[in-house]
């Protein structure tokens, strides 16, 4: 193990986060405090939590990876995500908040019926469970690259630490730490970007001794690359940019992990406004990470695109690099925490309390929520440690959130939206997504070149319209009554 300055900064930061999470513990008195922070989060907590959750491994290491191989066109990733968040704020947030929902599937219950709610709960739990495993693997690989620890053990340690900190205070833990995360991401990554641009690029023999993008362009040209193309905002091509936009718009308004902080907002005004502020916060991230990815390429620090950002940060001034690595670490931790927490809330609230054990009262729900955080967290940590790579592909179930978004949007704004359509469009998206992911029976990707989330969204969109038009409304439609426990809860309040 190599003890570097970066490692020391990271370890100190790690304990600081766990300390913050445990500090939030005294705020928790009932299940509502654990699940939605007592619905008392203010503007800062909500917007920062949403932004921090959204800036995950894909938004930092992933964007640097794309920039490393395909150029700065990757800035559209966060512009598109910002559009998705704004759409959520303008058009969806107040509906969710008005119904006092805790999970997205729960909202489908209000819009449709019991079977859509059950289907959505199951799909969400499976998708997020796998996604937690993947994100824990990503976090483990970052820690492994800094510490020189074994990848498997890093994944396990990170996963267990995340579980402990979520167990302490649920959404309060996340909200508390998100502010620290945002400060770290918002200072560490731009600081590292500035350092690279101002001091590292002139040091490259090929840059002509000048800094900034001019020096970067010189260095790229000297490596035999097309600098004009790599530095163009359109280097990825129109279709990829369109894909980012569709992915952002389809992916965010029904993604439990991203938007559940809006459910914890103090009132509907905060719930609406906070996602718009979060959109502004995430916007510039890919400029910074993308430029550092390109620097890694120009300086020849690595040949593996996935390591571009990490290699840059390990090769610059150790303090600046350490703060930058802490920033990426914060981005990963906040995403893992958000996803693990989203998965556990759906499991505890929807599957466990509403569906399987309608008699569970509030005191026990708090215990069950904690138990589910523990089960999902520890099993995912072990999963990140041991599961073979191929199983990681199952995370595509997570793309089902685009089908959920279609269901929510139709339910809100289309009078003819039929409960059967909601159920079947989710099912078709799942089956179609499986076929797409595993190329059964043909390689669809070769024909359509679509991201799987867009593919699932498209399938569910078509299915929804067709089934809605051909289903008849009768008194038997959606005639199952909600579980009694819900009514009791509401009366008591």
């Amino acid at each position: 193990m190599v003890v570097s300055t970066q490692l020391i900064i990271l370890i100190v930061y790690f304990f600081f986060i766990i300390f913050l999470g445990i500090l939030a513990m005294k705020k928790v008195k009932g299940s509502e405090d654990l699940l939605v922070a007592g619905r008392s989060l203010g503007m800062m907590f909500v917007s920062v939590s949403i932004a921090a959750e959204y800036m995950g491994g894909l938004g930092t290491i992933g964007t640097a990876e794309v920039a490393f191989s395909q150029g700065m066109g990757v800035i559209w990733y966060h512009i598109a995500s910002a559009c998705g968040l704004m759409l959520f704020g303008f058009a969806f947030a107040h509906y969710y908040r008005k119904y006092n929902v805790i999970t997205v599937p729960e909202y489908l219950y209000y819009l449709y019926d019991i079977k859509s709610w059950k289907a959505a709960s199951l799909l969400n739990v499976i998708g997020y469970w796998f996604f937690t495993i993947i994100q824990m693997t990503a976090m483990g690989s970052l820690v492994a690259s800094v510490t020189g620890f074994d990848l498997k053990w890093s994944a396990l340690i990170c996963g267990v630490a995340m579980t402990v900190y979520l167990l302490a205070a649920g959404m309060w833990s996340v909200a508390f730490t998100s502010v620290a995360f945002m400060l770290t991401i918002g200072s560490g990554i731009p600081l590292a970007f500035w350092w690279v641009m101002k001091y590292e690029i002139p040091l490259l023999s090929t840059s002509g001794g000048i800094g900034g993008f001019a020096g970067l362009a010189n260095a790229l040209t000297a490596s035999g690359l097309n600098a004009e193309h790599l530095l163009s905002p359109f280097s990825l091509g129109f279709m990829v940019i369109l894909g980012y936009f569709l992915g952002g718009v389809l992916g965010i308004p029904a993604a439990q992990a991203t938007i559940n902080y809006s459910f914890g907002a103090r009132n509907w005004k905060v719930a609406r406004l906070a996602p718009v502020l979060a959109a502004i916060l995430i916007l510039p991230l890919s400029i910074w990470t993308g430029s550092m990815g390109l620097y890694a390429k120009a300086a020849g620090l690595t040949t593996n695109p996935k390591l571009a950002l990490g290699a840059t940060l390990m090769n610059i001034n150790p303090i600046i690099g350490g703060i930058g690595i802490a920033g990426i670490f914060a981005a990963l931790v906040s995403t893992v925490a958000g996803i693990l927490f989203g998965c556990a809330s759906i499991m505890a609230k929807d599957v466990w309390q509403r569906w399987l054990h309608p008699g569970t009262d509030d005191k026990y729900l708090t215990k069950w929520t904690r138990l589910w955080i523990l089960i999902i967290g520890v099993s995912s940590a072990f999963g990140a440690m041991t599961l073979p790579k191929i199983l990681h592909q199952a995370y595509f179930v997570y793309s089902i959130r685009s089908a959920l978004m279609i269901c929510v949007a139709f339910g809100l704004w289309w009078k003819a939206a039929h409960p059967n359509a909601a159920f079947w469009s989710m099912l078709v998206a799942l089956v179609g997504g499986t076929m797409y992911q595993f190329s059964i029976p043909i390689n669809f990707n070769a024909f359509f070149h679509l991201h799987i989330a867009i593919w699932c969204g498209l399938l569910s969109f078509i299915t929804f319209i067709i089934i809605s038009l051909f289903s008849r409304w009768t008194a038997q439609t959606a005639n199952e009554l909600p579980p009694m426990v819900y009514k009791k809860n509401k009366e008591r309040r």
Binding site: M72, F90, F213, A214, V276, I280, I287, A475, T477
Partner: protein
């Protein structure tokens, strides 16, 4: 020699950032001006659908 010191994409991004901040300020003002119970006026399609079907509506 390239002149990338303030490249095109950075300008583009700054413009988008500026637009977003303006939108945020306008939206914040709009939301702030709405009365607290304005949320009740938004149509709840779920309730509408259930009313149409004659399904029992639980108070939310």
């Amino acid at each position: 020699m390239y002149t990338y010191l303030f490249p095109e994409f950075l300008k583009l991004d700054l413009i988008i950032w500026g637009v977003l901040i303006i939108v945020f300020i306008l939206f914040a003002r709009y939301i702030h001006k709405l009365p607290g119970e304005a949320i009740l006026k938004y149509k709840a399609k779920a309730i509408e659908n259930k009313k149409r079907l004659g399904i029992k509506i639980y108070k939310i």
